[in-house]
Amino acid sequence: MSTHEVNVAVNGTPTATTVEARTLLVQLLRGPLGLTGTHVGCDTTNCGACTVLIDGEPVKSCTVLAVQADGSEVTTVEGLADGEQLAPVQEGFRQCHGLQCGFCTPGVLTTAAALLEQTPDPDEAQIRDYLDGCMCRCTGYQMIVDSVRWAAEHPADEEVAS
């Protein structure tokens, strides 16, 4: 059983942690790094609650070893906002009731943030297609779609962003 020092920049902050080889990225985030926003809802890579961005791309952090993330930049739900300024996708979920219990929400938000980065003005079909790896048991998805559309229609205010 090997152990490894893992260096990951999480939400812009460099971290260094020693982990067992079998430690999953989500366990590193939730445990030693104390970032409990990322959740675990299954053990077969189906539900997407654990989705984070690795180097900007949405990945299920329950299916990546922590050691595999060494040297990369990880963004979790805690890193979506710019200080007090919510990201458009976060504000969209608030405005359009895109969450109920909120447990799956961190994974949906990070995935939707990646979609908007890649496709700033997605239509409903594109949104549903892109979120096919995220299970939400509360909302029935429609208000999630509406929330992402809201974000597309309200991109970050340039003054705030600059």
């Binding site: 366990q27 959740h39 077969t44 919510l86 979920f93 969450l99 219990c101 048991r137 029935g140």
Partner: protein, 773 residues
């Protein structure tokens, strides 16, 4: 004011969208030990030996316990003599039943340790189906309950006469497929009893209810126990059961002097969290050529699983109460029986007995439509209870008195929204065109019993009482604190209750804090389930706010040296009289309320606080008309939901954003039950749907956009007029979908399809229908 009915953006959301939520497993402190179960790989077996030694030899394993170690404690609460022991005692009765528990320093060690415990089993024959369990020579699961039955209430034989007198009669056997509620947060418990008091955090829907039972079970004073349901990641009825970890984790914490955490994996949760539905129905209906129903007979067979859960045992009772739906049927008779099988126990899942009742009556109505040739919407119109008949004492049970509704109006609105006539024409064209997918239109004009409840209604399910408790307190600066005994897990009570208080008081929603889910800070509580929170806590808060406003008015009058009866509360200020600029605000009144020198003589300090134990005079009966349009691929049987329209009557709506969200989520679960989800066992009783790879929870591209409308008739049972809406979508949806699929094939003579309506089932039905022609 006027906030009731406004789409106020939720107060809850900011924490949850920034990753600052506090779900139970987010609260784990350093040094917390991990508890895991050793699960039985057999559905039915004798446990002949358990050797913990190999597990105890692993570095970091604190302890291994078996049922003998809990000998000083009773079985888990539940109907005897089929109550469940905390861990399997001598015998396991479902695949995955825990036989031992491991406590370890870390999750990794615990995962290794549960594999190291050596358990010797002597497998017994499994009885995974109702048919096998009911067979005369069936293996018996509980010695004291012969025939694998708990209760057996036969159908009153007098109904035969009414059925015989009807011009036509028909039979229907229906299966309500076993579902897994699948809240995305699996059951999680964090227990700390290293100090004098037990502190338990749990993903649970009713913390005070848990406190009442757990303290009695442990034999400790209630004052020595704090239960917190922090953020809870969905419940859907699956987080009010007496799961053994709720009882074991505190003892392990006590015995070993560490905080203890139990988090089920999803594959564990699919075995250990109780399932829902799992009910079959045998129906006979008598009707005439016009599609009028004369008599209805229904025998409900409820699968309880390996042990009896008290709510699970109540499911068929609710099904029989609601057997007649929103129809006036001259003769109705029902019966039910509970059957044990070697499967996971069955309990409440969103709707709990009412989706099953809705499925029965709404499928029956469509069968009558098909057999008489009367349009399915028209059959409904002809049998509806008329709008002038309320309150309507339904003839299923004396407790069932429908409060209000206008079923023809809801269906009429639905038909308009769907553009039904155009759809019918399109359907006819499709049937003539062999290259076009078949089109089906399905209705569900449903009604459910909600607002649990009236005194006596929850006591039968083991609750302390049926009221809900709410407290309103004005703080010295004129802001407000509400504590509610409800325990939401996504329903938005912090917003909904603040709206109700704000509506009465004129204090801004932002200035009202709502607390819930903590037995140390919330006076008492019953919990959140059964679409009850608005009609109990919401109404209680409305009364509390009204009383507090009245007392505040008197204080304001004293400050303004005015007549209390002339004081007008408007926009959060107390005016000397209407249109009088002289006024005081909540801050001044509230401050004065704590300063005896500022108060009228005889008024004590601290009167701007009110506590209500809200009792309900009757149940509420939310209803609605749902319409589903499906397309069926003639070659593969694949079903595509093309559109889905819902017209709901939940009485008054407090927050339409939240109400729509509840309906959407419920409808999605109902569609999922109808098309995708099915807990399945193999012939030997092993669970086949062990993961979300095989248990088919749908995602966004699988679910349609919904159209929603309203046909609200306020309930006369409370001053808000609110009926509740948490379960509506799940109650009403399955038959709308199944009726639509059958409607695609009805011209071929297809009269029945079982849920989930898989492509293969549709294809098979198509083939059989073609062969029969």
């Amino acid at each position: 004011m006027g906030l009731i009915g406004s789409p106020v953006v939720r107060k809850e959301d900011h924490r949850l969208i920034t990753g600052q939520g506090t779900f139970t497993d987010d609260l784990v402190g350093p040094g917390t030990a991990v508890m895991r179960y050793v699960l039985s790989p057999h559905p039915h077996a004798r446990v002949t030996a358990i050797d913990p030694a190999p597990a105890l030899a692993l570095d970091g394993v604190i302890a291994v316990h078996t049922v003998e170690d809990f000998g000083d404690y009773p079985d888990l609460p539940g109907p005897e003599p089929a109550a469940r022991p905390v861990l399997a005692r001598d015998r396991v009765r479902f695949h995955g039943e825990p036989v031992a528990v491991v406590l370890a320093r870390s999750a990794s060690i615990a995962a290794d340790a549960i594999e190291a415990v050596e358990v010797t089993y002597e497998p017994l024959p499994a009885v995974p189906t109702l048919a096998e369990a009911l067979a005369p020579d069936a293996v018996q699961l509980h010695e004291l309950l012969p025939g694998n039955r708990l209760m057996d209430v036969p159908v009153d034989g007098d109904i035969e006469e009414a059925l015989a007198a009807a011009p036509h009669r028909a039979e229907l056997h229906l299966v309500n497929n076993r579902c897994a509620p699948t809240a995305i947060e699996p059951m999680t418990v964090l227990a700390d009893w290293t100090g004098a008091r037990l502190e338990l955090h749990a993903s649970f829907q009713a913390p005070h209810h848990l406190r009442n039972y757990l303290t009695e079970w442990l034999g400790i004073p209630q004052s020595h126990c704090r239960i917190v349901a922090p953020d809870v990641g969905g419940g859907f009825g699956s987080k009010i059961q007496w799961y053994p970890e709720l009882f074991i984790a505190p003892l392990l914490s006590r015995w070993h002097g560490v905080a203890v955490r139990s988090v089920l994996t999803r594959s564990e949760a699919l075995k250990l969290m109780y399932h829902g539905r799992a009910q079959e129905q045998d129906i006979e209906v008598g009707f005439d050529d016009e599609g009028r129903i004369h008599a209805l007979k229904m025998l409900v067979t409820q699968d309880l699983g390996g042990y009896a859960d008290v709510t699970g045992a109540g499911l068929p009772v609710l099904t029989t109460w609601m057997a007649a739906g929103c129809y006036r049927i001259p003769h109705v008779a029902t019966g039910f029986r509970h059957v044990f099988t070697t499967t996971s126990p069955v309990s409440s899942y969103r709707g709990a007995g009412r989706p099953e009742a809705t499925y029965a009556i709404e499928r029956t109505i469509d069968l009558v439509a098909d057999l008489t040739g009367v349009d399915a919407a028209e059959v409904r119109m002809r049998n509806f209870i008329p709008p002038d008949a309320f309150p309507f004492a339904q003839n299923t049970h004396e407790a069932v008195v429908y409060d209000s509704g206008d079923f023809p109006a809801a269906l009429t609105k639905l038909l308009e929204l769907m553009d039904y006539d155009t759809l019918k024409a399109e359907q006819a064209e499709r049937r003539e065109d062999p290259d076009a997918p078949l089109l089906g239109i399905g209705f569900s004009t449903w009604l459910e019993i909600a607002g649990f409840g009236p005194n006596g209604s929850l006591e039968g399910f083991g609750h302390l009482a049926s009221w809900e408790s709410v407290n309103l307190r004005i703080l010295p600066d004129g802001t407000a604190l509400v504590t509610s005994g409800t325990s939401p897990h996504g329903q938005g009570h912090q917003t909904m209750l603040a709206q109700i208080a704000s509506d009465v008081l004129g204090i801004e929603v932002e200035a009202i804090t709502v607390r819930h889910g903590d037995t140390d800070t919330v006076q008492q509580g019953t919990g959140t389930f059964g679409s009850r929170s608005v009609s109990t806590a919401g109404v209680g808060l409305h009364r509390a706010a009204t009383a507090v406003a009245e007392r505040a008015r008197r204080i304001a009058a004293h400050l303004l040296e005015a007549d209390p009866d002339a004081i007008v509360l408007s926009d959060g200020r107390f005016h000397r009289q209407a249109d009088d600029e002289a006024s005081v605000g909540w801050a001044e009144v509230a401050t004065a309320s704590f300063q005896p020198l500022q108060l009228p003589e005889g008024t004590p300090a601290g009167t701007l606080e009110e506590q209500v134990y809200q009792e309900s005079p009757n149940f509420t009966y939310p209803s609605g008309a749902y319409g589903c349009v499906v397309e069926v691929d003639r070659d593969t049987g694949q079903v595509q939901v093309r559109s889905y329209v819902a017209v709901d009557d939940c009485g008054a709506v407090i927050n339409p954003l939240i109400a729509d969200g509840q309906v959407h989520g419920g409808m999605t679960q109902g569609i999922a039950q109808a098309l995708y989800e099915h807990v399945r066992y193999d012939d030997d009783g092993h669970l086949l749907t062990e993961t979300l790879e095989d248990y088919l929870v749908p995602t966004a591209p699988d679910i349609p956009r919904f159209v929603t409308g309203r046909a609200d008739t306020p309930t006369p049972n409370n001053e808000l007029g609110a009926k509740g809406i948490g379960e509506s979508g799940a109650v009403g949806s399955p038959p709308a979908v199944v009726n639509a699929v059958i409607d695609t094939l009805s011209h071929l003579g297809v009269r029945a399809l079982d849920m989930p309506v898989t492509p293969e089932r549709v294809w098979t039905a198509l083939n059989e229908a073609k062969a029969a022609r």
